[in-house]
Symmetry: C2
Subunit: 252 residues, 2 copies
């Protein structure tokens, strides 16, 4: 960044630079293991100058996190076009890109280390991202006032996506492409389970299904599970289905 001649940056530009450097380092090692000295050195400025922009490591950490949260939230945005399964899958790919890039930082964040505990700005930032994910899914389902069961299914699926990503980061022993699809199917499966016991959820499930192509992801899953059954006697489980029809925005 600097080699003798130090380029002068504006305040905002310098802050952005430091946040970017911090995020890069947090993507390699846990924020607890990254010192202000390292951040200063990577940014090509002195330690006191870092403190000039951020009063302490926690403040830089929170600023970095805010940037990361905005970036992740932006990745949830997906056009309301085509089958829901395919839309959700594109979001899952971008979500795993993010998790992949920010590995150690993501883990430290979600495991709630000392820099991420209550009393810091972190829990509210995390809740904000979860809420954004939740609202995006409702928007794609065309539901404005979700019944309690749908809220529970969507929010618990968001938490499932988080825990799946965290478990994946511990050793990356399952290909991420498989997990990206798995989470899409998990969503359909959780909706289906809830639909079995509730008429409102059944309508939502049938609306999702009606918009899925016969050669889409859900049909593929059904086919594979059907194939499994052939090995023994009764045809096994199937957590989703096919048809097509565009769902309209609707109040439940």
């Amino acid at each position: 960044m600097t080699t003798g001649v130090r380029r002068r940056m504006g305040v905002e530009e310098r802050k952005r630079q430091l946040i970017g450097v911090a995020l890069e380092l947090f993507g390699e090692r846990s924020p607890e293991d990254v010192s202000i000295d390292e951040i200063a050195s990577a940014a090509g400025i002195s330690r006191p100058l870092v403190y000039h922009y951020f009063p302490g490591k926690q403040s830089l950490y929170e600023a970095a996190l805010r940037r990361a949260a905005e970036e992740l939230t932006a990745r949830f945005t997906e056009p309301h076009e085509g089958p829901l399964g395919a839309r959700l899958h594109r979001v899952m790919v971008r979500f795993f890109d993010f998790v992949d890039e920010h590995g150690p930082g993501f883990t430290a964040l979600m495991r709630g280390g000392p820099a991420a505990g209550s009393g810091t700005a972190v829990p509210a930032l995390i809740d904000g991202v979860r809420q954004a994910a939740y609202e995006q899914i409702l928007a794609h389902l065309g539901v404005r006032q979700p019944p309690a069961r749908l809220e529970l299914v969507v929010r618990s699926w968001v938490s499932l996506a988080e825990s799946t990503a965290l478990l994946w980061l511990e050793g990356r022993r399952v290909p991420r492409a498989e997990l990206e699809w798995q989470l899409v199917h998990d969503f359909a499966a959780l909706v289906a389970v809830s639909a079995a016991y509730d008429a409102g959820m059944a309508r939502i499930l049938l609306d999702i299904a009606a918009n899925e192509p016969p050669d889409g992801a859900f049909a593929d899953l059904v086919g594979r599970l059907g194939g499994l059954g052939g090995e023994r006697t009764p045809p096994p489980p199937v957590p989703a289905q096919q048809p097509r029809r565009a769902p309209a925005t609707r109040q439940v």
Copy 2:
């Protein structure tokens, strides 16, 4: 507890009493809102005497949590008899009993308040309970060396059970009996989704299915989902199945 004549208790007995009193109060309000004065008063002893047994609120909080963790872990124990769905359901009923009894304490714990952050004994206690749940499930599946995909499915389901319970506590808008069954079916559904893309998981799914009765919970779910499909054209999703056969302990 005391009415004029104060019964003398031994050290361990007194500690047990204070832990019991604290747990009862944490079941009504968040630990952060419960003072040592209240605990002393509910136990019928003076505030200094509480400090004689526990050097501070954090130490009493952690002792109470240790007791709660042991109690919850004990509830996971279930005889290895009968269909897996029914076993898991009995555990879910006991889990929701626990969550119901310890509501605010459970929420504070899992949301990681100041008394439950890193640097305290709490994260390790929580991880211990999660690990116990994970190991119990593997034991019931008869799997000693779980493949990575099974580990991921089981651990992520444990996290799903946690988040479902936490969401339920916010207003209790869905009957808990429904969620107890839902989580059993969610387990089968997550295994089924993973089984669709992996032969090892498919074998585990078929083993679970082989031990389920034709009139059991999974068959009921399949029947209900089949019924839903009748309302439109193609028969909808189904996340589990029937048959019977006792599974032997097995290495995967």
